[in-house]
Subunit: 227 residues, 2 copies
Amino acid sequence: MSITLYSLCGSDRDRPFSPHCWKVVMALKHKGLSYVEQPMPFTAISEIEGGVSKTVPILRDGDRLIADSFAIALYLEETYPTRPSLFAGEGGKALSRFVEGYSQTTIHPAATRIAIKQIHDMLDPEDQVYFRESRKERLGKTVEEVAAGRDAEIEAFPETLKPLRHMLSHQPFIGGAAPLFADFIVFGALQWLRIVSGSIHLPAGDPVGEWFERCLDLYDGEARRVA
Amino acid sequence: MSITLYSLCGSDRDRPFSPHCWKVVMALKHKGLSYVEQPMPFTAISEIEGGVSKTVPILRDGDRLIADSFAIALYLEETYPTRPSLFAGEGGKALSRFVEGYSQTTIHPAATRIAIKQIHDMLDPEDQVYFRESRKERLGKTVEEVAAGRDAEIEAFPETLKPLRHMLSHQPFIGGAAPLFADFIVFGALQWLRIVSGSIHLPAGDPVGEWFERCLDLYDGEARRVA
């Protein structure tokens, strides 16, 4: 069966940047599954596979269609149980939801405030219109109003990663000695920030930066090839 | 074999309050193990079991002595594998370190800033001297200087629990359908705040408050009997 991952891009199809899609890329690589990635711009998402989901990632695996990064990870774990585990048991599965909660409520808002203008500028004109309107509705501010706080956000950013830094004093990955989907959840958020803004804005020697580099090295540097 | 848990108290031995010791109480109850709790004041910790650790919890299980709440949970899981699991697998064990990182770097500092004066006032005079000196060294401020920011800290507190709230939109416990040690890590921090300051300072209807009440109900309301 062939696997297709529909992901998100701007004008340059070779720079897919969605944090949620990067989680799935890493999960597919972790499982050792072959797939074809189809990056799509924001305004084309509604046309993917007959409009099955308003958001990417969307995964087609043979005759199965799954949307949402966490649902895709659960699907891959159930469908390919003999390949390397994404959760290492039911506890890992449940606690990954907490890691998702942390990433979504802490890293994502900060990354948006740091990189909103750069994301906008990567998009085609019709996607820029969509992006401006949807972010205005979500954030209550224009792209430029959010971007005005960029320097302060960059300065505050390392603080948001304290829980990760504390954990890294005990083990090299959130998954322990080796990465699990929980690592990819946080990695996806920082990879998004790296691709759209050129940096994850951490000082040299930060254990979180070193963990991020370890993730970039995984699977023959799969995530490092996009910059 | 008999199990003894050395924990922490102020003048009132019936109100043990250490977050780390509450994690162990819940872990022992979860495993269905009988134990005797020996609450000790700050300045007596160095005398416990010949001075084996500078901090509580300390657990004696027959001829074994273990300090540190996470180490104790790992010990209980390994020693009593046929009783209900605290981690539900290796993934749960690894990811619990991330939950610990979140709790220690986010909830603990906030709880300290909210309740430092109340903790001080619960202690015997010689422990108050120790507490003042050690907190001055750790925080760079006097008890009263920290306490001056109490109202602002209480107002900001619900925001620190966003990751938990997000997770609770998917499942009733961090451990999924039922609690695991990861729940007790966060519960311990809020139980500490509840005992020392009389409240966890969340508005009615907050999903985190509802999860906390579910934890108070566990094991015949074990944690609710101390207030």
